[in-house]
């Protein structure tokens, strides 16, 4: 008997006698994981979170979450004799008096930034490939919650050192909280334990940052991974890949080795950044003082879009009946966040309502194969991107020598029209790419070989696309179009399509299902025949036909 067998028999047998896990664990070992670089984005988020837990635990051993006023006398001599909070003093202590303390602090901060960047990138991958579709809507909701919690967690974390920069962030938080109608002042006093800054906030943020939110995040990550495991991973289209299978390599040893390597790489990147790229040098900012500020104040990148919203929002304030509503601050600080997160959370359900698609999807969409979704996504990315950019408008103005107010006005205009332009452009690009794919399928790959026929005609020889490519190009499952609000053969209008909401749905459906049909015979027809193209026909008629369908609508009314 080999040594492997003996080890399994000993410990494994001991555990299995008590837990009966052999069958489950065997399935865990043999689980098939498909391979694609974009599947690693979520893993970055997972592994940076583990790095955050490890380095964060180290930091808690030395950090003092206290706002008690102390006079500093320590290794950073420039601040000797300066009044500061115990939190700030202990952060200096971690940085200058604990070996490896600065490294751990910097790894913690870099990992936090990578954590949120990875969540965002992962989410974009999920969105643009349609991985949120049935059956994965619940996991999408968990993901949106994780993003929101991650932002709050990050903000709470970088506020803890109580330095001038993070204190200014908290001051802005106070201003935003005060703008909440009716209860804003009360909420602010309850959060801060009185007036800003008070003496309670850092200890409160601390417990939120090290226990409450990480606990929730950990539980949600567990649920997120369990659902991924249970539902099996999605895969990109390819030869032999369908909605009924999953193609890849087993967890043990392949996926385990790859993901282990990935963890080491990510840790290496965090450590490398923390070695060579200084982050959050709080000793240069100094302790917080509400009367002082440094110029070029910038939050961590994931708060930048909210900062940008605050910067570009006009000075709207409504005074009525002895009350004041700082509408501009309220919109920029809270509504934008709420609307974007709610929109993200609802999107899978809206899309399903619009398309009426209740099928299970395990093969991912190529972004071009869902032009409207891709266009909506790019509109969202543009909206976020403009807000984020204007979050640093003072730096843009300075380094590019542009008038500061122009950057603000640029932001105000582009945040509205930018997403519209992005939507239109993206949709056109996607449809163009669909045409290209279609041409490839219809005409094949050009070989560059010209032959002359006996009658003197020159033609280029094309060969059919390779099987692997063909599988990708024809992977699109076209969506059925909802019938317009017109009577059926018996003169009875479809009740679902008759209401205002129903008409909206049909209209959106026709926008969403806009696509360049694949060349015939791929089972993509809608049954009403309007998609069937005669060979060699242009794809154009597909679009006017959609309008024709809606045109009879008025006649359906008595």
């Amino acid at each position: 008997m080999s040594t492997v067998d003996k080890a399994l028999e000993g410990t494994g047998g001991y555990l299995d006698d008590r837990l009966r896990g052999a069958k489950t664990l065997r399935n865990v070992l043999k689980k098939i994981y498909p391979d694609h670089w974009s599947f690693l984005l979520g893993e970055i988020a997972l592994y940076t979170f583990i790095i955050l837990l490890l380095t964060g635990t180290f930091l808690t051993l030395f950090f003092k979450p206290s706002m008690t006023d102390v006079v500093y006398h320590g290794s950073y001599t420039k601040l000797n004799g300066v009044h500061m909070s115990d939190a700030f003093a202990s952060t200096l202590n971690i940085s200058f008096d604990v070996r490896g303390g600065l490294l751990m602090r910097q790894i913690h901060h870099w990992a936090a930034i990578l954590f949120l960047a990875a969540i965002m990138a992962h989410m974009l991958r999920i969105f643009f490939t349609g991985a949120f579709r049935k059956p994965r809507e619940i996991n999408w909701l968990i993901g949106v919650t994780l993003l929101t919690l991650g932002i709050v967690e990050g903000f709470a974390g970088y506020s803890l050192p109580d330095d001038l920069l993070s204190g200014t962030g908290l001051r802005i938080l106070e201003g935003v909280m005060l703008s909440i109608p009716i209860v804003g002042t009360y909420i602010t006093f309850f959060i801060f334990g009185g007036q800003f800054p008070g003496h309670d906030l850092i200890p409160r943020l601390y417990i939120v940052h090290v226990l409450l939110i990480p606990g929730i995040i950990l539980a949600l990550i567990g649920a997120h991974l369990f659902l991924m495991y249970h539902q099996k991973h999605t895969q990109f289209p390819g030869k032999g890949r369908t909605d009924r299978n999953v193609v890849g390599a087993p967890a043990y040893p392949y996926f385990a080795a790859k993901t282990g390597a990935w963890f080491f790489y990510i840790f290496a990147v965090c450590a490398g950044l923390s070695t060579f790229a200084q982050i959050n040098p709080v000793w240069l900012f100094g302790p917080y003082n509400p009367a002082a500020i440094s110029s070029d104040s910038q939050p961590d990148f994931y708060m930048g879009w909210l900062e940008g919203a605050l910067r570009m929002m006009p000075a709207w304030q409504i005074d009525f009946l002895g009350h004041s509503l700082a509408l501009g601050v309220f919109i920029a600080g809270l509504l934008v966040l709420g609307v974007l997160m709610t929109g993200l959370a609802l999107y899978p359900f809206i899309e399903q309502w619009v398309t009426g698609d209740r099928r299970e999807h395990h093969v991912l969409d190529r972004p071009r194969d869902a032009p409207t979704r891709t266009a909506v996504g790019m509109a969202g990315v543009t909206f976020y991107g403009v807000l984020w950019l204007i979050g640093g408008n003072d730096l843009i103005a300075r380094y590019f020598d542009i008038q500061l107010y122009w950057t603000t006005w640029f932001g105000r205009v582009t945040v509205i029209i930018g997403p519209v332009i992005a939507y239109i452009l993206t949709k056109r690009i996607c449809l163009g790419l669909q045409r290209k794919d279609r041409d490839l399928l219809v005409h094949g790959v050009e070989t560059g070989i010209i032959v002359m026929k006996p009658q003197g005609e020159f033609t280029e020889i094309t060969r059919p696309v390779p099987e692997e490519v063909h599988a990708v190009l024809t992977a699109r499952r076209e969506l059925p179009r909802l019938p317009a609000a017109q009577p059926d053969e018996n003169g009875v209008p479809s009740p679902a399509a008759h209401s205002v909401l129903g008409k909206l749905r049909v209209r959106l459906n026709h926008v969403f299902t806009e696509a360049i049909p694949l060349p015939g015979g791929n089972g993509h027809g809608t049954g009403d025949g309007h998609r069937e193209l005669p060979t060699g026909a242009e794809e154009r008629p597909a679009l006017p036909k959609a309008e024709q369908e809606e045109r009879p609508e008025p006649t359906s009314r008595p």
């Binding site: 065997r26 201003g175 005060l178 509400p290 009350h323």
Partner: protein, 360 residues
């Protein structure tokens, strides 16, 4: 594919229950061939030839042993580099001491670099291992539909209905409604507990630490000021009420900018009675979200908040010229006391800082 092992495993489980010896021989993941087990259970001598091995899911060896051999050496080298780097990390911890900026940076470099190399080499080794030493496979696994089979759902529904009926929950509204009332009250109760998180705001946001005759002292040095000491037009100083230099709550509302103008430069709506010899005092706390509006452009007399670029006209009562701030910076009434020092006439006449609901 995953189904192929079910039958033998179940059989083995029952066998294990009968014979402790067999249980000990059980091997997770790689069950012994059913034939061999049967022989053991019979207790007979293993005389018969071993059955043919089961088809493998994964090949045991890579297709190209030469290449795998080369890769193996690379993997081992990577792991050795990682080993050395980890030792270097421990050495760095011992060698590089801290307690000053320069030494901390050296320590950070030593620890960080060795740690980076340790992880990088480990990752690289694992990558080469999985890509070039392990045999390549691509396996197709069927998906089962996620929805439970119809009978399972029905069985669940039955079980649930039976349970509900047995509980009498539906039949007895008295229990149902009182339980609902009880749980609602219990859910509300913890919210009450949060009341003592902070005091009620009352009118605290309307007042600052400024009082009549509070001297204006310079932030940082706590030096009181005489108008003559602040004589050059275009100058700007941050001042605070005397005795508040370590009271952050007071500073958060009471920080003030004083700016020196030639008297004729000051224009309405600046309140002239609240100025001294062209010295005007404005709240430094931005009316947008409370950052200190610290930047001053003395050619245009603009006060700029560095956070969100609200711009105020210091010449004209700090009215808003641009940006998201909805209100001017409140003006602090100042005068000179008997000793010739700049003092406040009173507190601000309106709340400073961000707009709040009760502002009115």
């Amino acid at each position: 594919m995953t189904e192929q092992g079910n039958q033998p495993e179940d059989a083995r489980a029952s066998a294990g229950g009968e014979h402790g010896r067999v249980t000990r021989r059980r091997v997770i993941g790689t069950p012994p061939p059913a034939e061999a087990r049967r022989l053991l259970r019979d207790g007979g001598a293993p005389a018969q030839p071993a059955p043919p091995p089961k088809p493998r899911m994964l090949p045991a060896d890579p297709a190209n042993p030469e290449r795998a051999k080369r890769a193996e050496r690379i993997v081992a080298t990577c792991f050795m580099i990682s080993f050395v780097a980890s030792i270097a990390f421990i050495a760095s911890y011992v060698i590089f001491q801290v307690h000053s900026v320069d030494r901390v940076f050296r320590s950070n470099l030593g620890l960080g670099l060795s740690m980076t190399v340790a992880f990088l080499a480990l990752g690289a080794g694992a990558t080469v291992w999985v890509r070039n030493v392990m045999p390549k496979v691509e396996i197709t696994e069927e998906r089962k539909p996620l929805a439970s089979p119809r009978p399972d759902r029905e069985a669940f529904a039955e079980a649930f209905e039976e349970g509900t009926e047995a509980s009498q929950f539906v039949k007895r509204p008295l229990i149902r409604r009182t339980l609902l009332a009880a749980s609602t009250a219990l859910a509300v109760a913890p919210i009450v507990l949060l009341r003592d998180l902070g005091p009620l705001p009352r009118t605290q946001l309307r007042h600052t630490a400024w009082k009549a005759d509070s001297r204006l002292v310079v932030l940082g040095t706590n030096r009181p000021l005489k108008p003559a000491e602040f004589a050059s037009p275009g100058g700007i100083i941050t001042v605070i009420p005397e005795g508040t230099d370590n009271d952050l709550e007071a500073l958060a509302k009471a920080a003030v900018l004083i700016i020196k103008f030639r008297p004729e430069e000051l224009l309405a709506p600046t309140v002239m009675n609240w100025t001294v010899d062209g010295i005007v005092a404005y709240s430094k706390i931005c009316t947008h979200v409370g950052c200190p509006a610290a930047l001053y452009e003395h050619t245009t007399h603009h006060i700029l908040c560095p956070c969100h670029q609200s711009t105020f006209d210091a010449q004209r009562g700090a009215k808003v010229l641009f940006g998201p701030a909805p209100r001017p910076l409140p003006q602090l009434p100042i005068t000179v006391n008997a000793d010739g020092y700049l003092v406040a006439q009173s507190d601000f006449h309106e709340p400073v800082g961000p707009t709040f609901w009760e502002l009115g």
